[in-house]
C-alpha cells in the first residue's frame, strides 16, 4: 500500500505548530502517534497534503499530579504510558484499565490519548472513562490557551470542537470524590477489536446509596454520550437489582446505536442495558447476584 506524498513539518514549539496549522487550514493534519492517521491515508479515506508532526515538541507526554489542578496527562502520552503509569494506577486505575483494552500492544506503544480524543471515533475507548471523570482539555492555538470540558468537545462522528489552528496539549482530571470508576468494553474478540458497546461509570456513593453518578456510553451514538436519564434515575437512590435493571433499560433507551457490519442496533441496545448494570455492580463492588455462570469481565 502507499500514501500519497505530502509536505512534512516538524516544528520545535507549540507556537510554531499552531502558526503552521493556521496557515494551511484544512489542508493540514496533526501527526502524533499516527495509528489512526496512517491507516486512513493508506485506505484513501484521507488525502492530506500537509502533516504537522508533534514529534519534536516536548513536555506533552508527561503524566503528573499538580496541586490545585489534579492529574495532568500530556496529550502525547501513549496508551501504554497510561497503562504503566503508577500515578494513574494509584489515583485513577480505571483510566489505566481502559487504555489497556485498546487495540493491541504495538498500537498502544504508538497511539496517543490525544489522538484517541481528537479523532472522535464514536467507539473510542478513552473518552468514556475520561468524561466520567469530568476530564478538562487544554488546547493551544495562535490566540493562546483555552480549557474545554471533554464532554462538550466531541460533536459528531470523527468531529470535535478543535479549531483549525489548535493542538490538544493536556487532559486534566480534576480532584474529585469518587467511590469508584470503571470502563467495560464489549468487543467481538479479546484483542484488536473495536467496542461494539462500551460503558464507563464513575460514582460517589455512601454505602449502597448513590450521591452522584456519571454513566458514559461508547459506540452507540454519533459521539461518546452521557446516559443522563440513567444517571438521574440512580442519583439519591439505594442500589438494588431491580433498580439496576431499570437504570440499564433507561440507558438502553437513551442511546442511538446503528446497525453495521459488526452488529445490529438491537444487539447494541441490549448490550448497553447489560453492561450498564455490570459496570455499576463492579464499581460498587456488588456480587453478580442474578447471573450464575457469567464470566467476570474484569477490565475487558
Amino acid at each position: 500500500m502507499y500514501i500519497q506524498d505530502f509536505d512534512y513539518y516538524r516544528p520545535a514549539t507549540l507556537k510554531e505548530a499552531s502558526k503552521l496549522l493556521a496557515k494551511y487550514g484544512d489542508q493540514a493534519k496533526v501527526l502524533a502517534g499516527g495509528t489512526d492517521l496512517l491507516p486512513k491515508m493508506k485506505n484513501g479515506m484521507l488525502a492530506t497534503t500537509i502533516l504537522v508532526s508533534l514529534k519534536s515538541i516536548s513536555n506533552l507526554s508527561e503524566i503528573e499530579y499538580l496541586q490545585g489542578k489534579g492529574v495532568v496527562i500530556g496529550a502525547k502520552a501513549t496508551h501504554n504510558d497510561l497503562v504503566n503509569s503508577s500515578l494513574l494506577q494509584e489515583r485513577y486505575p480505571s483510566i489505566s484499565e481502559a487504555a489497556h483494552v485498546l487495540a493491541n500492544n504495538q498500537v498502544r506503544n504508538m497511539g496517543t490519548v490525544g489522538g484517541n480524543i481528537v479523532n472522535a471515533t464514536p467507539s473510542a475507548d478513552l473518552p468514556p472513562i475520561l468524561i466520567a471523570l469530568d476530564a478538562q482539555l487544554t488546547l493551544f492555538g495562535i490566540n493562546g490557551q483555552r480549557t474545554v470540558p471533554l464532554e462538550n468537545f466531541l460533536i459528531g462522528p470523527n468531529q470535535c470542537a478543535i479549531k483549525k489552528d489548535e493542538i490538544l496539549t493536556h487532559i486534566v482530571i480534576p480532584d474529585q470524590p469518587s467511590t469508584g470508576s470503571s470502563y467495560l468494553k464489549f468487543g467481538l474478540r479479546r484483542s484488536g477489536a473495536l467496542a461494539i458497546v462500551g460503558v464507563a461509570a464513575n460514582v460517589v456513593a455512601r454505602g449502597a446509596t448513590i450521591e452522584k453518578a456519571r454513566i458514559v456510553l461508547s459506540a452507540v451514538a454519533p459521539t461518546t454520550m452521557r446516559a443522563k436519564g440513567a444517571e438521574q434515575l440512580l442519583t439519591g437512590k439505594t442500589v438494588t437489582e431491580p433498580l439496576l435493571e431499570e437504570v440499564g433499560r433507561t440507558a438502553a433507551l437513551e442511546c442511538r446505536p446503528i446497525s453495521d457490519l459488526r452488529s445490529s442496533a438491537e444487539y447494541r441496545r441490549d448490550l448497553v442495558r447489560v453492561f450498564t448494570k455490570r459496570v455499576l455492580r463492579k464499581v460498587l463492588k456488588l456480587e453478580d447476584v442474578q447471573e450464575e455462570g457469567v464470566r467476570d469481565h474484569g477490565p475487558y
Partner: protein, 764 residues
C-alpha cells in the same frame, strides 16, 4: 504397532527453524533481482459489467512506468485449475464478473509509481445486473455470468448409493434439518507474490505457491511452452491453506510484463486484494435428511447442498464433490444420496480451504446427529460409538478404508475430557459438545488427468558420506514437509537426520511432486522418499558387505552405523566409510523413488473425488461457556484425539493439530467475509475479518491413539486438515448444551446466540 525407529518418531527441531527465527528465511516478496520492476494488477470496481474501452495512455506516460498491459497483450487461452472448467482469462476480455476481477497490469520502477499508474488507467464499463446469491442465480431471468453455463450452474452432482427411500420408510426416526455455512478466507499471513523473469525462451517464476508443479504446468500451457522451459521456484511460503495451490493473476501477468520489459517483475497483492482474489471456502446451504433405527443406528442419509461458487470455478468442482463424498467416512451406513449444485455468482471465486469442502457439511451432520440423539434420549458419544466406522471396510461410495481407530478415539476423548463426570453436571451456561471427522491422506487422482506418479524423490549421498541431500518436489509451506521427509530419508537409509540437507520446491532442481494439498505429502511424498532411501541403503550394504567380506543380507544400518545383524557391537563400519568407498569405485551413491497410488474408487460419475490410499479420523470435544445475557461464546477447553497412523515427528504433528483446530475455531465463531449490496467486500482487512488472537484461545489438548496404516510408509496418515473438520460441529453442539439453543448457520456469532436465547425466552 510399536517399533523403535532412529530418525522418525522423534520430535527433532525443524530443519528450517533457525533461518526462520533469525529473519534470514526469504519469502517471495523478500527477493531482489538486478533491474527488477514492480508490478500490480488493476481490478474491476464492479461486480458485473461489460468492458467497453480501456485507455492506458495516461498510465504509460507516467515517468517510471515501463509497461501497461491488458487482454490484448497476453494469451487469450482460458485457464483454471480444474480442467473440466477452464473459465478464466489472464485479463477479462469482454466483461468483468466480480469486484476484483482482473482488467490490466502495470510494471514500473517502484511501488509508488505502480499505484499511481493504476489510478491513471481509464476503463469504461457498462454496468450489468449482478447476482450475489446462489438461489437467486438459479432463478429464471437471473443475470447469466458465463455463457456456456445456463442458470449459472457450474457443477451439478447427483449420486445415489443403496436405497435411501427404502431406508427412510423403515426408519424409526427421521429428521430433515437445514444449515448454512459462511464464506471464509484462508488468510495466510504472507500475501501472494510472484517474481517472473525470462532468459530467451526460458521463463523462471519465484512464487508463493503450494505446488511448483501445478504452477509450472499451467504457466507452460498458457504461454505455449514446453514444461522444460518453465522453472517455478518456491521460496519460503508464509502459509497457504489451499489458497496458493493455483496460479493467481500475478504469475501470468508478471510473466507477460517480464517478457515485454525484458526485466524481472515482482508482483504482489495487498491484503484487501488477497481478500478480493479469495479462492477460500464456499458458502454452502445444506439440507440433510437422516433416518435412524430405534437404537440410533443410521439407516440412510440424503445430503442436498447448494454452494455459492463465486465468479469462477477455481478448485470448486473438487470442493463440491468432497462436500458430499466425505460424509460417508465416519459412520457406517449403506444408503446415501448426494445432490449438489455449485452455482456461479458475481462474487470472488471460492476454491479449496483447509478441509476442502468437508468441514461445513460435517458441522451440519454432527449438529443433526446431536439433535437425533436428543430426540432419542441417547448420549452423543453413545450414538457415535454405535455408528462409528470400523477398519477394513468400504463406504457406500466406494472408498476403501484400511486403518480406522475412530472408536478408540471416541473412547479416549470421552476419558481425557472427563465427559461422563461433566455432561449434564456443569454449572449454568457451560456445556460440552462433540463432533468427529475424517479426511483423505492425499487424493487418489491428481488435479489434471495424467498417469505421472504423484511423487518422486532422489537422494544423493555426499562424496565423503558426511551428509546426504534429499531432492523432493514436495512443498514445505510451513507444515514441515522438508523436516519430516528428511527424517524419513534418514530412517530409510539408516542415516542421521542431523546430517540431511534438502532441495525442494524447485521444478528444475528437485523432483516431480504434485505439491501440498489434500494432506498428501507425508504419505505420498514420504513413500517416494522411503523407496529412494531404501535403494541407497541396499547399495551401501552391498558395498559394506564387499569391504567387510560379509553377506550384505546379514548387515543393517542405523544412525549412520553399519553392523552385522548378530554382532552389532564388534563388527561395525560407518555409513560414511562405506559411502566414500562406493563413490570411489562407482561414482555417485544415489537412490530414487516414486509413488503412484493404487487404482482406487468406483465407476460412477465423480467417483474419483474422495478416493485416497488412507483416511485419518479425529474426535473433538469442547467445553464452552455461553454468557446468557450477551451471547458471548467463550471456549474454555478443547480435546482433540486423532488417529493419524504412525507419527513421524510428534511435536510437529501436534503443532498441525493446534493450527488446524485454530482455523476451524476461527470459522466457527469469528470469521466471515461480508459484502455490501454491490458485491464489494466490507471487511477485506485483518481488523474486521476476525482471526482469533492469542487472547482468544482455549486450552487445547492434542492426543493420539495407536494406529498403523498399511497403505502408508511406516504406517503414516494425514493430520494437516483433519482437525479443522470436526470443530464447527463440535462448537455448535457445545453451545447447544450450554445454552439450549441450536445455531443453524455459521459463524456461531455472539449476536446469533444472543438472538436465539432471547427468542427462547419469549416462547411460552
Amino acid at each position: 504397532m510399536q517399533e523403535t525407529y532412529s530418525a522418525i518418531g522423534k520430535s527433532v527441531p525443524k530443519i528450517d527453524g533457525r533461518v526462520k527465527v533469525t529473519g534470514q528465511a526469504k519469502y517471495t516478496a523478500d527477493l531482489k533481482f538486478p533491474n527488477m520492476l514492480v508490478g500490480k494488477i488493476l481490478t474491476s470496481p464492479h461486480a458485473h459489467a461489460k468492458i467497453l474501452n480501456i485507455d492506458t495512455r495516461a498510465a504509460e506516460r507516467l515517468p517510471g512506468v515501463k509497461a501497461v498491459i491488458t487482454h490484448k497483450d497476453v494469451p487469450d487461452r482460458k485457464y483454471g485449475i480444474s480442467p473440466a472448467r477452464f473459465d478464466e482469462n489472464i485479463f477479462c476480455i469482454d466483461k468483468v464478473r466480480f469486484v476484483g476481477d482482473k482488467v490490466a497490469a502495470v510494471a514500473a520502477m517502484d511501488e509508488e509509481t505502480v499505484y499511481q499508474a493504476l489510478k491513471l488507467i481509464k476503463v469504461d464499463y457498462e454496468i450489468l445486473p449482478a447476482v450475489f446469491d446462489p438461489i437467486e442465480a438459479l432463478a429464471e431471468g437471473a443475470p447469466q455470468i458465463h455463457e456456456p453455463y445456463p442458470r449459472n450452474v457450474n457443477t451439478e452432482i447427483h449420486q445415489k448409493f443403496g436405497d435411501v427411500e427404502g431406508a427412510f420408510s423403515k426408519a424409526h426416526h427421521l429428521r430433515t434439518d437445514r444449515f448454512v455455512g459462511q464464506r471464509t478466507y484462508q488468510c495466510p499471513i504472507e500475501p501472494h507474490a510472484a517474481i517472473s523473469m525470462w532468459a530467451g525462451d526460458k521463463l523462471t517464476v519465484y512464487a508463493s505457491t503450494q505446488s511448483p508443479h501445478y504452477f509450472q504446468y499451467y504457466l507452460a500451457r498458457e504461454f505455449d511452452l514446453p514444461m522444460g522451459n518453465v522453472r517455478v521456484i518456491k521460496p519460503f511460503v508464509g502459509g497457504g491453506f489451499g489458497g496458493k495451490l493455483e496460479p493467481t493473476g500475478l504469475e501470468f501477468a508478471g510473466a507477460a510484463l517480464a517478457r515485454i520489459t525484458g526485466r524481472p517483475v515482482k508482483m504482489f497483492y495487498d491484503r484487501h486484494e488477497m481478500f478480493a482474489h479469495n479462492r477460500g471456502r464456499h458458502r454452502q446451504i445444506m439440507e440433510i435428511t437422516t433416518g435412524v433405527d430405534r437404537e440410533g443406528k443410521i439407516l440412510g442419509v440424503h445430503a442436498n447442498f447448494i454452494m455459492d461458487g463465486g465468479a469462477y470455478t477455481s478448485l470448486g468442482i473438487a470442493s463440491a464433490y468432497y462436500a458430499g463424498a466425505l460424509l460417508t467416512l465416519t459412520y457406517d451406513f449403506k444408503n446415501y444420496k448426494f445432490d449438489m449444485l455449485r452455482v456461479y455468482t458475481n462474487l470472488p471465486a471460492c476454491g479449496a480451504q483447509r478441509g476442502h469442502g468437508a468441514p461445513q457439511p460435517k458441522y451440519a451432520f454432527e449438529s443433526q446427529l446431536n439433535l437425533i440423539a436428543k430426540d432419542l434420549g441417547l448420549d452423543p458419544i453413545e450414538i457415535r460409538l454405535r455408528n462409528a466406522r470400523k477398519p477394513n471396510t468400504i463406504t457406500p461410495n466406494d472408498f476403501k478404508v484400511n486403518s480406522c481407530e475412530l472408536i478408540a478415539c471416541l473412547e479416549k476423548a470421552r476419558q481425557i475430557s472427563g465427559w461422563s463426570e461433566k455432561k449434564g453436571k456443569l454449572p449454568q451456561g457451560r456445556g460440552l459438545g462433540i463432533a468427529v471427522g475424517s479426511f483423505v491422506s492425499g487424493a487418489g487422482y491428481p488435479i489434471y488427468r495424467t498417469n505421472l506418479p504423484h511423487s518422486a524423490a532422489l537422494i544423493k549421498v555426499f562424496e565423503d558420506g558426511s551428509a546426504a541431500t534429499l531432492y523432493t518436489g514436495a512443498a514445505d509451506i510451513g507444515q514441515g514437509s522438508d523436516t519430516i521427509l528428511c527424517q524419513m530419508a534418514a530412517e530409510a537409509m539408516g542415516f542421521n537426520y542431523e546430517k540431511m540437507k534438502v532441495v525442494s520446491g524447485d521444478t528444475e532442481t528437485s523432483t516431480h511432486d504434485f505439491g501440498a494439498y489434500a494432506s498428501r505429502q507425508t504419505l505420498m511424498s514420504g513413500a517416494a522418499v522411503k523407496e529412494a532411501g531404501e535403494m541407497v541403503k541396499k547399495k551401501l550394504l552391498e558395498m559394506a558387505g564387499e569391504m567387510m567380506k560379509v553377506d550384505p543380507t546379514e548387515l543393517d544400518c542405523k544412525d549412520g552405523i553399519i553392523f552385522l545383524g548378530n554382532n552389532p557391537i564388534i563388527t561395525q563400519m560407518t555409513f560414511a566409510e562405506a559411502a566414500r568407498e562406493y563413490f570411489v569405485r562407482n561414482g555417485p551413491l544415489a537412490g530414487r523413488g516414486a509413488y503412484t497410488p493404487p487404482k482406487l474408487g468406483g465407476a460412477f460419475k465423480g467417483a474419483a473425488v474422495g478416493t485416497s490410499p488412507a483416511y485419518s479420523f479425529a474426535v473433538q470435544i469442547s467445553e464452552v461457556e455461553v454468557d446468557r445475557e450477551t451471547g458471548e461464546v467463550n471456549v474454555k477447553e478443547v480435546w482433540d484425539v486423532h488417529d493419524c497412523g504412525t507419527v513421524i515427528n510428534p511435536s510437529l504433528l501436534h503443532a498441525q493439530v493446534h493450527g488446524a483446530l485454530y482455523m476451524g475455531m476461527g470459522e466457527s465463531v469469528w470469521e466471515e467475509v461480508v459484502f455490501d449490496p454491490d458485491g464489494k467486500i466490507l471487511n477485506p482487512n485483518l481488523s474486521d475479518y476476525r482471526l482469533p488472537t492469542a487472547l482468544d484461545m482455549p486450552q487445547i489438548t492434542s492426543a493420539l491413539v495407536d494406529s498403523y496404516e498399511s497403505a502408508g510408509p511406516w504406517g503414516v496418515k494425514e493430520v494437516g486438515e483433519g482437525a479443522t473438520i470436526p470443530t464447527m460441529g463440535c462448537y455448535a453442539n457445545a453451545i447447544n448444551d450450554a445454552a439450549g439453543v441450536q445455531i443453524s448457520s455459521l459463524p456461531l456469532s455472539y449476536e446469533k446466540v444472543w438472538r436465539a436465547l432471547r427468542e427462547k425466552e419469549e416462547k411460552p
